[in-house]
Amino acid sequence: MRVIAVWTIKGGVGKTAAAVNLAYLSATEGLRTLLWDLDPQGAASFYFRVRAKVKGGGGKLLRRSADLRPLVRGTDVENLDLLPADFSYRRLDLELDARKDPEERLALKLAPLADEYDAVFLDCAPSVSLVSESVLRAADVLLVPVIPTTLSLRGLEQVRAFAAKAGRQSLVVLPFFSMVDRRKTMHRDAVELYGADAQFLRTAIPMASVVERMGVRRAPVVAYAPSSEAARGFCGLWAELNARLAGGG
């Protein structure tokens, strides 16, 4: 089981868009996939039309004895299951703080699912917190969407520093450019500048209105507009991610 977290400090940069589309691609490839929506806003749950309601709230689910499985919902996509978020997740941080080894908690909760899933995607809220620390500890891979602006790139440095501190030794950090607008000089320059950064994935996700329509279609772009440039971007990203992890690329 491979755990792939999508996280960065900045909000609204395409984390959920990436998590949802990559999870979909993973599942259609035949991998048993779980998408864990850890953001109290529940955007990923919304995209898959899963009603977010976690009985007893996020705190109960963090108990050592609590089994995640009863909370798992099958999506309409074969091989893809979802752990929905609900508003109670906003207190996840406090709940974690009240427990022993809060940073290990997520990994602990995922361990019993190792036989059942090939891939787990964690869609996280944008903040530095105990939750993100716990996420980094559970993850094998950290995908970091970066908008090619100076500010975002500074954010990336903070993420790298935090990941080095909080993540496992073996954590693979893979930034990629998200919401790229080729018409903007600053975007082109930044993409060019970071072309030399070996960690960066080569594939960039373009800014495209077809992605925004996910909110209306309530499905991944790769499902309803597979030949769009954005969808091809997510496919490329997924292929590159796999090649990287296989030791190539």
């Binding site: 991998l31 909370l71 099958g74 309409d76 899933y117 090939d118």
Partner: protein, 516 residues
């Protein structure tokens, strides 16, 4: 009680009708009807079916996918296929492959039957448009050589989604009791297999013969031999076609068991009648040995290669390639030898002898339970005597002889298992098996050691690099260590096996009270 998830449609039923049954609680959206072919796969010995699972190759339009429905309440796993799949190892990596491989082991995934399905998906959705339950309105039709066979059946199948059990239960409740629907108890796998003359579980390599304690020994032994004969014959085709390595293995075991039966139960069948077969079955056993030895060697080396780092694994490749060639030649010879008159004649004459009633040998009229008891105890005593006579530095030949003695005892116990208390038999056989496994591993390590040493010159002559020879050297050293280790563990296990408690267990086992 688990609610039925499939219903046979009696008369006519369409999507609109079903939607009306479910309204207004649920909304139904119907897809288009689509045809597909479902090809059921299993190992020859039905390992997947026995694990409770179903493996189906689905051909729909230009898409091919594998669907694995594991046992229990787990959801189905599906994976698109780009290449042909013969073994579990050919499947794309992931949960599906892991689960199928765990059940199928080394055996090939063979088609056991085919269904043509025309189906329409009815999604039962909530207010958000989320599917809560999938309903399939489908017509299924078993296929024989691509053409329909038997009647077509129409049904409704309920496919629950993980986490939406309540909705599934609710939907089933609305379907139950409708005049148009009756619960469907048929098994698609069984239906698809039946048109080809097969049935789930119709083959197993295990000996299972139901004997009656006081039936005449001659009748009982004939039943055992008939059972073994069926197993032997069932494996000929797969061996010749080389479908997987286990056909040959099972064929050999059936041959060996037959020989044990003839040798250890001498006096039960008319001696004059069976004498010639003893020689013929020995010939058959010898015929199959070279190919099987190479199979074992190759499987072992492939296993080891997986555990090695990439560079070391590459060094073994020329050796493996050489062995594969030798093995292919050995199999070719075997397959040829299984065609002509001598083998076919043996099968024919043996089959006749088994079906034609004949006067038994001098012990043929004794109750089988008494004969069984005497022969099992004799085999046990011989095994213990020879084992205890081994010196501290075991001789390969003596160890090999011991292994054969152990097999004879084990086979006898299997033949007569139905006469004795099942639990006790299982425990004793388990203890014997531990000893046997150590002896087997010891012998294999020796055999492979000898073979590698002998192969050195051939590999060198083939012009491969030094790295392969070095890798072989490492293997040889490993095998020496392994042989020493196995000898040690054998002595430990055998000490237990020959001690009083185990002997007492065997005595208890074979004392059958139900005979006058």
């Amino acid at each position: 009680m688990v609610p039925p998830l499939r219903f046979v449609v009696v008369g006519r039923l369409d999507a609109g009708r079903i939607a009306a049954w479910l309204a207004p609680t649920w909304h139904v959206t119907a897809g288009r009807a689509a045809p597909l072919v479902q090809r059921y796969l299993d190992t020859f010995d039905w390992a997947l079916w026995r694990s409770g699972g179903r493996l189906v190759l689905e051909l729909e339009g230009d898409q091919t996918r594998m669907r694995w429905q594991p046992g229990g309440a787990k959801p189905a796993r599906t994976v698109p296929l780009a290449q042909e799949v013969r073994f579990a190892a050919d499947l794309p990596g992931g949960v599906l492959r892991r689960e199928v491989a765990a059940a199928a082991g080394l055996r090939a995934l063979l088609p056991v039957g085919e269904m043509r399905v025309r189906r329409k998906l009815l999604r039962v959705v909530d207010g958000e448009g989320k599917t809560l339950v999938r309903l399939w309105l489908e017509a299924v039709h078993p296929l024989l050589r691509g053409g329909p066979a038997g009647p077509e059946r129409t049904r409704v199948r309920v496919e629950p989604l993980v986490g939406y059990a309540r909705a599934a239960t609710g939907v089933v409740a609305r379907l139950q009791g409708r005049a148009e629907l009756t619960p469907d108890e048929r098994d698609d796998l069984a239906d698809a297999a039946a048109v080809g003359g097969r049935a789930p579980g119709d083959y197993s390599s295990r000996v299972s013969v139901k004997l009656v304690p006081d039936q005449p020994a001659e009748v009982a032994v004939r039943r055992i031999l008939t059972h073994l004969f069926a197993t032997l014959r069932a494996n000929v085709e797969g061996t010749v076609l080389d479908l997987d390595s286990e056909f040959l293995h099972d064929l050999r075991v059936a041959t060996r068991r037959t020989r044990t039966c003839l040798g250890q139960l001498r006096g039960v069948l008319p001696a004059a009648k069976v004498a010639s077969f003893v020689e013929e079955f020995r010939w058959l056993a010898g015929l199959t040995t070279p190919c099987r030895d190479l199979d074992v060697f190759l499987l072992e080396l492939q296993d080891r290669r997986r555990a090695l780092p990439a560079s070391a694994a590459a060094a073994l490749e020329p050796l493996l390639a050489h062995l594969r060639k030798t093995r292919a030649a050995a199999h070719g010879e075997l397959a040829e030898a299984l065609q002509p008159a001598r083998f076919r004649g043996l099968l024919e004459r043996w089959g006749k002898l088994l079906t034609r009633p004949a006067r038994g040998g001098k012990e043929g009229a004794l109750p089988i339970v008494r004969v069984a008891r005497a022969r099992v105890l004799r085999a046990y005593r011989r095994l213990v005597r020879r084992g205890l006579a081994l010196g501290p530095e075991p001789q390969v030949q003596a160890m090999h002889q011991l292994r054969i003695d152990g097999k004879k005892l084990r086979y006898l116990l299997e033949f007569f298992a139905s006469l004795w208390e099942a639990e006790e038999t299982t425990v004793f056989v388990g203890q014997l098996k531990l000893v046997q496994d150590a002896l087997g591993a010891y012998h294999d390590a020796w055999l492979q050691h000898e073979r590698l040493v002998a192969l050195g010159d051939e590999i060198l002559a083939a012009g491969t690099g030094a790295s392969t020879l070095l890798a072989m050297g490492r293997l040889i050293a490993d095998l020496e260590r392994r042989r020493a280790r196995e000898a040690e563990s054998f002595f430990c296990l055998f000490a237990d096996f020959s001690a009083r408690p185990v002997r007492a267990r065997l005595m208890r086992l074979v004392e059958y009270a139900g005979v006058a």
